[in-house]
């Protein structure tokens, strides 16, 4: 596959999906003729829909858990990211069409987290907001949902976002104490209350901390990925190399000033605290495996090629073109299309984090595209093994035929287009904030690239999520 996206007809035909049953393949006339589709948004959607554009984004630097944001709540961080966005684009007292954001680790008192952040921000208090929660896909899903509202003409402007704090995680009381407290609330007389209280046992006072286990399997996400990593025979060396590239690319992006207009310092941080600009393959090779130690195959997943628990927040400003023009704001890219998928991971039919391996082929087929038509791949690095397993599945003939319903392998990607400014292994991964980080960065990269072979530069985002889910999206340069 060539670097310039000039793919020869031969390989393109071989990788064009053979419209499997799962794919709703609409007519895609411009699939092979980039010039014809240059000014049109790619996709099958009705022609009357207007475009949703990405104006820009803002996030706070991501901090390793227990670091600079230890005492900062989700609401603190989301408000900080929001206020930075407002300052950057002059949105003080502006009534935005809608704000959507979410957190994965969320206390029940934060039922209106996003609205509360809006009320604490410089936006007009008449800006409505809603919370969304789709595990690690939360951030990208807020972008897709709000972009759809803009496309439909329901709103003209929107802010999408996400936040997570592993440091300030909610801790629940034990089930025993919870039941006693609820029953106590229902008891009417003193004897009834005493009777309820007498049920309390010392062990009921121990708190119930959140854990990272999948509810239906009891396996942590890392252990699930270790199974998938072993299944796809991903080597330790390949994982360490991906992690190394992530740190190298992110460090280079900071040095080049790439994040200057994407990030607002917070609590003394000006860069993501997980970034190790001086890491090396040798250093990564010394780390001991942490996941998959009880499996038959050798354990390959370390703290270096897995994302750490992280705190942080991100936001993205979306708009209809008219609104952006009227406010004299930049238009970096359009949100072309998105797709969600889920896999049956519970009994191991597919790996927990493999849903994007199914979502991307469906999304590209619907838009008449192949992997060769993508100039930037942003595949979220939950673990290096996740990215590499997904790529391995796409390159696998058997997987392509039996699972994707294609004639052969889905295809391979040009690695020089993958996560070119670093990704979660280096930046960290505050679950719901990752989508906003990627969308804002990719929009900026696409805008800078402009056109490729007479068509707008095109980027693909892929984010895996707990519960066997994944959300993917296509953006195009403006």
């Amino acid at each position: 596959m060539s670097v310039n996206g000039q793919s020869a007809p031969g390989p393109k035909e071989s990788t064009t999906p053979a419209t499997p049953g799962a794919v709703t393949a609409a007519a895609s006339p411009s699939a092979g003729s980039p010039a014809a589709g240059a000014a049109e948004p790619t996709g099958r959607t009705a022609p009357r829909l207007r475009r949703a554009v990405i104006v820009g984004g803002n996030r706070i630097p991501f901090a390793r858990t227990g670091g600079a944001y230890t005492k900062s709540s989700n609401q603190d961080m989301l408000t900080a990211a929001l206020d930075g966005l407002i300052a950057r684009f002059g949105l003080q007292d502006e009534r935005i069409g809608e704000v959507a954001a979410g957190a994965v680790l969320k206390h029940s008192r934060d039922f209106n987290l996003t609205r509360e952040a809006v009320l604490g921000s410089a936006l007009s208090a008449e800006t409505p907001a809603y919370d969304l929660q789709q595990a690690c896909a939360t951030g990208l899903e807020t972008v897709l949902g709000l972009a759809n509202k803009i496309k439909l003409g329901q709103i003209d402007s929107a802010i999408a976002g996400g936040v997570d704090s592993a440091s300030d995680a909610p801790i629940a009381v034990s089930e025993g104490l919870r039941e006693v407290l609820l029953d106590l609330n229902r008891a009417k007389t003193l004897p009834q209350r005493l009777q309820v209280l007498s049920r309390l046992r010392p062990k009921d006072l121990a708190p119930d901390a959140p854990n990272t286990g999948e509810p239906r399997t009891g396996l942590s996400m890392g252990e699930h990925q270790a199974l998938t990593t072993a299944q796809w025979k991903i080597t330790r060396e390949a994982q360490d190399e991906l992690a190394f590239n992530s740190h190298r690319n992110l460090a280079a992006a900071y040095d080049a000033g790439f994040f200057d207009d994407l990030l607002t310092p917070y609590r003394g941080l000006t860069r993501d605290s997980n970034l190790r600009a001086d890491t090396s393959l040798e250093k990564l090779a010394t780390l001991k495996p942490v996941f998959g130690k009880n499996l038959g195959s050798a354990a390959t997943m370390t703290a270096g090629n897995s994302t750490p628990l992280t705190d942080g927040a991100s936001t993205v400003l979306l708009a209809a073109e008219d609104w952006a023009d009227a406010h004299d704001l930049p238009k970096l890219a359009t949100v072309v299309d998105g797709e969600a998928a889920a896999v049956d991971f519970v009994h191991g039919k597919d790996g927990l984090l493999m849903a994007p391996a199914f979502a991307v082929p469906r999304l590209l087929a619907r838009n008449g595209l192949t992997l060769d038509d993508i100039d930037f791949f942003e595949i979220h690095e939950a673990f290096a093994g996740t990215v590499l397993s997904t790529l391995a599945a796409w390159e696998d003939e058997e997987f392509g035929r039996t699972r994707l319903g294609l004639d052969g392998a889905f295809g391979s990607i040009d690695r020089s287009r993958l996560n070119v400014n670093g990704s979660s292994l280096a930046a960290g991964h505050p679950f719901a904030a990752t989508g906003g980080r990627i969308v804002a960065s990719l929009a900026k990269m696409l805008h800078a690239r402009g056109h490729v072979d007479g068509r707008p530069a095109r980027g693909l985002i892929s984010i895996c999520a707990a519960g066997g889910q994944g959300v993917v999206a296509i953006l195009e340069a403006l």
Binding site: K203, A230, G296, V346, H347, G348
Partner: protein, 303 residues
């Protein structure tokens, strides 16, 4: 064995009274040196119009990880029928000591869904007394019908071993069936079982067998620590199989090494489908995640 008219009990017997009575019987037999006889009692015990408590059902479903529907989980029905089965083993003419019996296997056929709102007729009896290399084994059978109906909706066969008890006239098999070498596959699930697992299941099943309750009570009966209840383990595996099994299915489990608490139990569930992709069966096997020792295995299959 000819079947006699059922002995109809007015209500479901109390398990705690049965355990106390069993202990007393054991002591009496030891002091007097009496034996109850060589054959199984022919009597069937029956309770009519049994209804499940919805609070109990909800607590059971939450503990086991079952969907909290109005349908009684197959393992819940086992717990519902268990006191009646125990009452058969508690009869004076039952030849084996009830306390210390080991649950070897359990087979259930759920032919039709039963809801907590329905009145149920429950019958239980003992059959199939036979030799085992380590003692004597038998089956306790329970059947559940909707009140007044002939069709059996749920049938359970529990095989127990009275270890070290050899009755006259019952041959013991000469050779132990060779235990196949077990090599643990990659797990699909991991259970963290705390020390209170036994007590939690006792609370929802009503089976306060001391070997499950605490280290002390288990030690009193000769175990080094308390062990998880077999039907808790099998019921969780059944719940893990999920909704694919539908309303009518068979569910088997064979117990091997006991699960001493606390424990980390690894589980593999593999699914079998027919050519149309429809669910046919799920096979499960569980083992100690550290030692790799097999705890139990079984299957859930479409009828």
């Amino acid at each position: 064995m000819t079947l006699s008219q059922p002995v109809i009990l007015g209500e479901m017997p109390s398990l705690s009274k049965l355990y106390v009575n069993a202990a007393a019987t054991a002591a009496r037999r030891r002091v007097l040196g009496t034996q109850a006889g060589d054959g199984l009692p022919a009597a069937r015990h029956e309770v009519r119009g049994v209804k499940a408590s919805v609070e109990n059902l909800t607590a059971y479903q939450h503990l086991i990880g079952e969907t909290a529907s109005d349908v009684l989980p197959a393992g819940f029905i086992h717990a519902l029928t268990f006191p009646l089965a125990m009452s058969v083993m508690n009869r004076d003419d039952f030849p084996l000591p009830l306390l210390g019996m080991i649950h070897l296997e359990n087979k259930v056929v759920q032919s039709a869904p039963l809801r907590f709102t329905e009145a149920l007729d429950v019958q239980a009896w003992a059959e199939n007394l036979r030799g085992h290399r380590a003692g004597t084994q038998l089956d306790l059978v329970a059947e559940v019908r909707r009140a007044g109906e002939d069709a059996v909706s749920w049938r359970g066969v529990s095989s127990y071993l009275a270890k070290g008890v050899f009755l006259p006239g019952i041959d013991k098999p000469t050779a132990a069936s060779a235990a196949a070498d077990f090599s643990a596959p990659d797990p699909t699930a991991l259970w963290q079982l705390g020390v209170d697992t036994g007590r939690a299941y006792a609370a929802v099943s009503g089976d306060f067998n001391p070997i499950h309750l605490s280290v002390l009570s288990a030690k009193a009966l000769g175990l080094r620590r308390s062990i998880a209840h077999g039907m808790y383990l099998a019921s969780r595996a059944l719940a893990d199989v999920g909704a694919a099994k539908g309303d009518a299915f068979s569910w088997d489990v064979a117990f091997e090494a006991p699960v001493f608490l606390p424990a980390r139990v690894a589980l593999d569930i593999s699914t079998g489908q027919d050519s149309d992709g429809a669910w046919r069966r799920s096979d499960y096997v569980a083992w100690n995640s550290r030692s790799g020792r097999k705890h139990f295995s079984g299957s859930v299959a479409a009828l």
